[in-house]
Subunit: 134 residues, 4 copies
């Protein structure tokens, strides 16, 4: 069982979201933040770095947005859907843009293929959580 | 002149946003992220910490969202309004919720008054930037 | 296989550290950053929050230091041991202090027990990586 | 007066560090984190991006370490010198490496000159704070 799920299981009060869906989103966000940080760095090491500039930028953005979203979702106390919902929407937008761009380079660069997969899984997990909120 | 403005002035290409409005937003985000981090900590030091639990939580969220937004806005290369816009909207939402909550404690706790002010200024700066984008 | 390991396996060049040890550290850092963020929040929800103030503070510090360390370690390009080493040392220090404090509350609060375990595992993984560097 | 100083002035208890020196470090860290984030992006926009790969990487590391350090220093509650000291040492190391690398490109790229200056000022402010701690 992931630490995210263990931490939810030991939360001292009830909370507003389904624990399985929430833990899945937290785990997918951690994977995506790490993959995007690494993919930006991998792109920097490619000879064709000049062609990967947009990919690097979107990976850096996606890593930052996923990290913030992961932290907001890791908190249940004083839950405020007015914050959680737009944060998740911003995260879905970042994962979509970054996943699209990485996919364009997936055949040429294996790290972009793996990163695109992490972005798609994160996008889906956040979308599923958004559906559970609204 | 702030470092944000100096960095924009030395950017090697043209970019899509007004430098004054953008630098003002970046500076307000840095102030708000710091004030929220400190206010959460100040609340932890209050004897009535149990009454400030929601305030602490919203300050932590707001600090995380402002930090991510500050980083996204500090990048001009490969600009993607589909990411920048929802990130700014999430930030406005976080600043509004946090500013409202801090304001409720502003008369009792000076740090909440200062933090509420930082949230309001950040909210305005991001809203102004959003207007320039759409 | 974790995304950290997959990303290392698709890195386009050789790099300076053992991939297994490095991936283990990255995964442990992600777990610890999340567990500490959640544990700080769990503590906020406890009736005895006033007794958990030091625990909350150290959890917040540990989450921030682990997140920065995770990002530094996720980059291989332009590797600089003069940065990586002190960053890992700071992370070990944060995990030790936070793990010690969480352990003091482990019998009373299950989330502190789980978080202490995440801190210890991260401490060990970073210490092992440090040994491989120096 | 900066928000960092205002937040320190409204902290409800006594704390362990000189408020002027501490506020100066927090402000320098915020400037350095932002300048490094922007400089990494500026480098990405240069035609000679391939020659700036090490600079980009060190700027990203420095931004992450400064952000974590800024947050640790913004907390006074439950102060633990065993965490604060190595975190500051790691930050000085990151600012030194990044400042040295940016300085090598300062004549060619104005953004590297501004960023090197932000790194040097941050390095000094953190070194001064370290002296006040030990």
């Amino acid at each position: 069982m992931s630490y995210a799920k263990q931490m939810l299981d030991t939360y001292p009060r009830d909370f507003n979201l389904d624990a399985q869906v929430l833990a899945a989103a937290i785990d997918a966000l951690a994977d995506c933040a790490q993959a995007c940080t690494a993919c930006a760095d991998d792109c920097l090491s490619e000879e064709q770095v000049a062609e990967l500039v947009k990919c690097i930028r979107l990976c850096l953005d996606c890593a930052d947005v996923c990290t913030a979203t992961l932290r907001v979702l890791s908190r249940q106390t004083g839950y405020d859907a007015n914050v959680t919902r737009p944060v998740l929407e911003a995260c879905v937008a970042a994962c979509t843009s970054c996943g699209d761009e990485c996919e364009r380079h997936a055949q040429m660069h294996a790290h972009c293929r793996v990163c695109a997969e992490a972005c798609r899984r994160c996008d889906q997990a956040c979308t599923q959580l958004l559906a559970a909120i609204s």
